[in-house]
């Protein structure tokens, strides 16, 4: 019985009217964890009930603590009929299980209903008492820290990077169960939300076990995804990088631009984290770990063997030297080979699931236990792909793959599995895996140097001596999926480069369909690659970072979207221009046409050079000693695909012997290509965009931050799509995608000069003629004057008040109290939360005084005595709303992260049967996204945090049926909850802690 969960329901506010007669509500709350339920008293006739309940105590296994969410349901008491549900709050208590994360969850949570959205708020207090568990056979992995951040978290130091961890769990989707035919949509949605929450918890626990087994104490770059496979089930899978992290004392915390301090030890065996008593046990095999029935938790069906050795590399780790990280400590990457990717088309067939028959009725069986052998199938699929990636990396002479990610695209029964990463040679200091060779810290250009053998190149490539050190060979173009290494020297600024593609395919079923898709894939990749290459040349750049290629499958089309950030790496040779050639040289008018196009291209290149400030120092090639011959295009992109039949095909993307820089105009297609090349919407002045963390070439970030999500759905007008219509659709789509960016520029014009960072595009084909584009990004302001040169030290001018204009009236309060706590070098984080709270308290007081002064309220202001504890203070109805910043990046400019509070991983479903009344699909989705943001913010605030970093929207699946006035949407978001302070401050900053306060006096306005 290793844990006690304590929950207190404090109060509610802004509840909806449930009783039309009295315009009031008789609310009570049910608190459920596992199979135990507690209830509060009914608080009659109030929209702002004050339950102030006793502490509800749950005594549970730590395994359950990891898997289960706390479920808080608010209901309206009804004497004569069934009680009406108002809404629910799911609280993930995982952050409380780690001693270094949050200690208490306390705050206002939006009460969420899958049909009505947010309906009021509830104040909940949650605590966990963990008993020391000495059971070495335990199945839980409490204490392993999870981070979505794909770099070493800011206040930690990586003692060791162990390697790749992966896991998946499978279940049947409640939406496709027989019972779904008779239950209400609400019940069905809630069952689904709960199941996914449960599966995520379980997945995290299992990954945690693997990490402990490997000897690590944390997972960095944790990426969890759902595959909604429909009838064949629901897969939740996750990958990550196991690490041993050491906490840095706050005094020596690096500032934002350095990722971690360099480890001091190099050759001696890296310290094994002593902070957690790691359970020395092996994990059972994958199959063993798959869904065990909840009731069987206490009996161990597969007693694991005691395992006594210290960090011995586990087979997983050795098998796949993959890293989900995209940013690395300086010196971590020795050489980078190029992008490796693999795709595979699979049929989601119930054949893989022999336990289930073909008829629906078999599903009446307990769906919780029947799918036991499914994970094996899925595991095998991924295993296959990973093997492929590994062999590609080998071919590039690399041992590891960094910036690794996996994704799927599902349409009906066809599923495309994709994996991609960047082949690289890593510094063995960090990894047990590569203990073979030792090298002094490489020069800043080191990662550009080719890792493969010059005489035995995996593909035709043009090598020159490095333009920086002149000692080693570099390729002329470099494609990667990682962020630009910090030490890399770039010329000018970078920019977002996108290749877009749309291919029709015949509607088909089963095997035929899968074959058709796998036949199309190589052509799509080829074309995307060509587009990227051309656009890169057009911008006069020579490297791509953060390359992300997404191929989405629809019923009658395939959609390809490749995004990357182009830069000019100083170490690489300058790219050549683009030459246009006609097929029929005799034709005069044609020749004239070609000349015009050539001129336009040359002009564009010149313009781009100026725009991105690319003026590389002119180097005579004689110095290098190896004249650059006619440049040739080649591919860094290694890919292959296989279909379900395991047939493997390799494609050489190097354009054979053809000269890549010469674009031939021989048919209308080529004209279209060139046209689209030139019509990329230009960015307005003052705007930059990239899909990497930060824009290469901009160093002086100021603190203006605006994270946003935008979703668009285009309907293709042509009812019967023909190949003639294809070109039209293609251009339309590209223009529209370009338009999305234009829209952002317009909306964010007040932030100029600014840069859109970590632009993440997700395309999908939800229905036959619909294309959905979902974008999440952050706009960050920077100082234009300093943008040119890289500052010597990382201290940027900090002239903006931190939370944008949010702190209008609290900012004046931030001077005095900062002297209160100084000398933080030895702050232990256990007591930190307490300090923090007294601090916040102080500020709140101050803010109140200020506010009181300004509006002359004299009588009814809350008397916030100094003695009042933060907890009770928080529960006040009028307590201020904490400002929570969100960003997809791993940091907030101008701030320092002082504490990671835990992972945020939330899944919501929203459904409506009154679509028109809610303002159509746009109104529906707009509300839903705003609600999701609100719930994320509320959870972060309740953990005591003030920001979410590495935020991402993994899934946004919208289904609509306007004729029936219905729509349903699923959203999955994740990120890391953190406390951050202004970089200039030593202590938590007041202005960001509580903003938005108003008079606490109990005024409820004109209700």
């Amino acid at each position: 019985m290793p844990g006690k969960l304590k929950v207190k329901i404090v109060a509610g506010r802004h509840l909806p009217v449930m009783d039309r007669a009295s315009d009031l509500t008789d609310a009570f709350v049910e608190v459920k964890f596992g199979n135990t339920t507690f209830k509060t008293d009914v608080f009659p006739k109030s929209l702002n009930p004050q339950w102030n309940s006793e502490w509800f105590k749950f005594e549970v296994d730590d395994e359950d603590l990891q898997d289960e969410p706390l479920q808080v349901t608010v209901l309206d008491h009804d004497t004569y009929s069934a009680n009406d549900a108002i809404g629910k709050v799911y609280i993930d208590i995982d952050p409380l299980l780690c001693s270094e994360a949050a200690s208490v969850i306390s705050g206002w949570f939006p009460i969420y209903d899958t049909i009505h959205g947010i309906r009021g708020e509830i104040n909940v207090l949650v605590k966990v008492e963990l008993f020391n568990d000495l059971n070495r056979f335990r199945q839980s992995s409490c204490g392993v820290k999870f981070f979505c951040t794909t770099s070493i978290p800011r206040c930690y130091r990586a003692a060791m990077v162990h390697g790749f961890v992966e896991e998946l769990v499978v279940n049947e989707d409640p939406e496709y169960q027989w019972i779904d035919r008779i239950r209400s949509p609400r019940a069905s949605n809630e069952a689904r939300q709960r199941l996914i929450s449960l599966m995520s918890g379980e997945l995290q626990r299992k990954i945690g076990l693997k990490v402990l087994e490997m000897g690590g104490n944390a997972v960095v770059g944790y990426l969890q995804c759902f595959d909604l496979e429909g009838e064949s089930g629901l897969v939740v899978r996750a990958i990550g990088t196991a690490c041993t992290l050491d906490k840095l004392s706050s005094g020596s915390a690096p500032n934002t631009n350095t990722h971690i301090a360099l480890p001091t030890t190099s050759s001696s065996p890296p310290p094994f984290s002593p902070s957690k008593p790691c359970s020395r046990q092996s994990s059972s095999s994958d199959t063993d770990l798959s869904l065990t029935p909840k009731t069987g938790k206490n009996t161990w069906p597969h007693p694991p063997l005691p395992f006594s050795s210290l960090p011995s590399p586990s087979p997983h780790c050795g098998e796949f030297p993959f890293f989900t990280l995209t940013s690395f400590p300086p010196g971590f990457l020795l050489h980078v080979g190029g992008v490796v990717s693999a795709r595979s088309v699979k049929l989601l067939d119930r054949i893989h699931n022999p336990a289930l028959g073909n008829t629906r009725s078999y599903k009446l069986l307990d769906w919780n236990s029947v799918t036991a052998d499914e994970p094996e199938t899925r595991d095998a699929w991924w295993e296959e792909i990973r093997q492929e990636i590994k062999s590609h990396a080998k071919a590039l002479g690399c041992h590891g793959v960094v910036g690794y990610s996996e994704s799927t695209s599902i349409c009906e029964e066809v599923c495309i599995l994709s994996a991609s990463g960047t082949a690289a040679i890593l510094n063995p200091r960090w990894c047990v895996l590569f203990a073979r060779f030792e090298e002094p810290s490489p020069p800043s250009c080191g990662f550009c140097h080719i890792p493969y053998d010059e005489l035995n190149m995996p593909f035709p490539a043009q090598l020159t001596y490095c333009y920086h050190c002149r000692r080693q060979k570099v390729p002329d173009v470099l494609f990667t999926t990682i962020n630009l290494p910090q030490e890399a020297a770039v010329t000018g600024k970078g920019c977002l480069i996108q290749a877009r593609l749309c291919r029709l395919k015949k509607k088909a079923q089963g095997e035929v369909n899968a074959t058709a898709i796998s036949n199309l894939l190589p052509f799509m990749e080829y074309e995307l690659h060509t587009q990227l290459m051309n656009k890169l040349k057009l911008r006069s750049m020579n490297a791509l970072f953060g390359l992300h290629i997404q191929i989405s499958v629809g019923e009658n089309m395939l959609l390809g979207l490749a995004s990357a950030t182009g830069v000019y790496l100083t170490a690489l040779p300058a790219p050549g221009g683009i030459q246009i050639a006609g097929k029929t040289p005799g034709d005069l008018s044609n020749e004239h046409h070609i000349l015009t196009i050539q001129k336009r291209i040359n002009d564009t290149i010149a313009k781009n050079k100026e725009l991105y400030q690319i003026n590389p120092p002119e180097l005579t090639e004689e110095v290098v000693g190896s004249p650059i011959p006619e440049p040739r295009q080649r591919s860094r992109l290694f890919r292959s695909h296989s279909e379900s039949s395991d047939e493997l095909s390799e494609l050489d993307l190097s354009h054979g012997k053809k000269d890549a820089f010469v674009l031939e105009i021989d048919d209308t297609d080529a004209v279209e290509d060139i046209h689209s090349l030139l019509t990329d919407a230009p960015t307005p002045t003052g705007f930059y965009s990239c899909n990497t963390e930060i824009m290469p070439g901009i160093y002086s970030w100021t603190s203006g931050v605006q994270m946003f999500t935008s979703v668009r759905v285009f309907r293709l007008s042509n009812a019967n799509l023909t190949n003639q219509g294809l070109n039209k659709i293609f251009t339309d789509l590209c223009e529209n995608l370009g338009c999305v960016l234009k829209d952002f520029y317009f909306k964010l014009r007040s932030m100029i000069p600014c840069c859109l960072c970590q632009l993440n595009f997700a395309v999908a084909v939800p229905e036959e003629e619909l294309i959905q584009v979902a974008v999440t990004a952050v706009a960050m302001t920077f100082d234009k004057d300093q943008a040119q040169e890289k500052p010597a030290d990382n201290e940027t001018e900090e002239q903006l008040q931190f939370p944008m204009e949010l702190c209008a009236d609290a900012s004046s309060a931030n001077t005095q109290p900062s002297s209160k706590i100084s000398g933080t070098a030895s702050v232990d984080y256990g007591s930190f939360a307490d300090r923090c709270s007294t601090w916040l308290e102080l500020l709140r007081l101050k803010a109140h005084t200020i506010r009181r002064g300004s509006v002359k309220t004299s009588r009814r202001t809350q008397s916030l005595g100094r003695s009042r504890s933060l907890r009770s203070n928080r529960s006040f109805r009028g307590s201020p709303v904490t400002v929570v910043k969100m960003t997809p990046l791993s940091f907030l400019p101008g701030t320092r992260i002082i504490k990671y509070l835990g992972i945020i991983n939330m899944f919501f479903i929203r459904e409506t049967t009154s679509l028109r009344e809610e303002g159509g699909v746009s109104g529906f989705l707009h509300t839903f996204i705003a609600e999701v943001f609100a719930m994320v913010r509320a959870h972060v605030a309740a953990l005591g945090g003030n920001a979410v970093v590495s935020y991402s929207m993994k899934e946004c699946m919208l289904m609509e049926n306007p004729n029936k006035n219905q729509a349903q949407c699923l959203i999955n978001v994740s990120g890391d909850a953190v406390i951050c302070v202004r970089e200039t401050d030593q202590e938590p900053n007041p202005s960001m802690a509580n903003i938005g306060q108003t008079c606490a006096s109990g005024t409820d306005g004109a209700t």
Binding site: S710, R715, E805, G878, L925, I995
Partner: protein
């Protein structure tokens, strides 16, 4: 290729003040786009009409979602759905509860009932304010009024802080004052007066004739007129009932005015009539019905006769100043304090209401 859906949601809610105003003014999305295009925002940012349309739609949706919160301003501060900086919140509320002078002028003094709501169409047609905007303003008025009505004790102190700000700074206070006393403002003879005129007069009445005015404490101010004072006003009747006093007053005023104005003859001829008019207004104010007619009486009994005699504004000023001051020299007239408290309001109201 048609755009089926298009949303943009920021973590900090993005709101454009210009679009907000257009929304408040009741423009449709398309009209708002037109206005914005004419405003030149497109050239400024190299945007196209599509971009503008999409942006306007987004913002309109946001405002519509916000509207529910704006109905009870204190909710806006502690709701969780939108992350809006405090200064923005203040702007939203301030603008939402702003009134068009033309609209308020029409509603002024009307009884707040459903009947009036039906008349919103007429008001809209008359003032050029869109129906949507009329409805918002009217509903706001009712909403605030309801809150105030349900409160006990001094008005200004008990209303929610945000409403209070509206009251003190804006036009809510005069509006209340007029609604509270149901002053007649709709008569044809009063049509020439603007809302600003009335707002000024209301301010004068509130700061001089209400209970709070005596203590000189703005915080405790109440909008009810000081009953005692109104009772005392009856004593002023002596100025017209006592024949000697009336004659004495007239001669004092005439001596002071002689040679100073072209309208002297008319002033001398009309003195008794005008004086009777003003003093009678004072004497009748104990009746609530006569309080309602305060402005119409001022116009009928004083402003109109003067205007027909072609007094200039300067003449009016001169006359009223001497008329007020001379009363102090009358040795048998004992009610100097009441007289001054009365006349200070009358003077400033008439100055404001007398348009050349």
């Amino acid at each position: 290729m048609a755009v089926e859906l298009d949303v943009f949601v920021g973590n900090t809610t993005i709101m454009d003040e210009e679009v907000y105003q257009l929304w408040l003014d009741g423009y449709t999305v398309n009209d708002a786009v037109k206005v914005r295009m004419e405003g030149g925002v497109m050239e400024e940012c190299e945007a196209s009409a599509d971009v503008l349309l999409s942006d306007t739609m987004d913002q309109y949706r946001t405002f519509q979602m916000c509207e529910r919160l704006l109905h009870s301003p204190s909710k806006l501060a502690n709701q969780l759905l939108f992350q809006i900086p405090p200064n923005r919140q203040a702007m939203l509320i301030e603008r939402y509860y702003a009134f068009d002078d033309a609209f308020v002028r029409e509603v002024l003094g009307k009884k707040l009932s459903k009947g009036t709501k039906k008349d919103l169409d007429d008001i809209g047609a008359k003032t050029g304010v869109t129906l949507k905007s009329c409805r918002r303003q009217f509903d706001n008025f009712k909403r605030v009024f309801k809150v105030v009505e349900e409160l006990k004790g001094p008005l200004v102190e008990n209303i929610p802080p945000i409403m209070r700000l509206l009251l003190i700074s804006g036009i809510m206070l005069p509006l209340f004052f007029f609604a509270n006393h149901r002053f007649e403002t709709g008569k044809r003879k009063l049509q020439y007066l603007t809302f600003q005129d009335f707002a000024f007069c209301a301010g004068q009445l509130i700061s001089n004739w209400t209970v709070g005015a005596v203590d000189n404490m703005v915080e405790d101010m109440d909008v009810d007129l000081d009953k005692e004072f109104l009772q005392e006003l009856k004593e002023l009747k002596v100025l017209i009932t006592d024949k000697d006093l009336l004659d004495q007053h007239k001669s004092l005023v005439c001596t002071a005015l002689r040679g100073k104005t072209k309208a002297f003859n008319e002033m001398e001829a009309n003195f008794k009539n005008l004086s009777r008019g003003l003093v009678n207004i004072a004497a009748k104010l104990t009746n609530t019905k006569d309080v309602r007619d305060f402005f119409i009486d001022l116009v009928e009994k004083f402003i109109e006769p003067c205007r027909s005699d072609r007094w200039t504004a300067a003449d009016m000023r001169l006359y009223l100043t001497h008329y007020n001051n001379s009363a102090h020299i009358l040795d048998t007239f004992k009610h100097q304090a009441v007289w001054d408290r009365y006349m200070v309001v009358i003077k400033s109201c008439i100055f404001k209401m007398y348009h050349d």
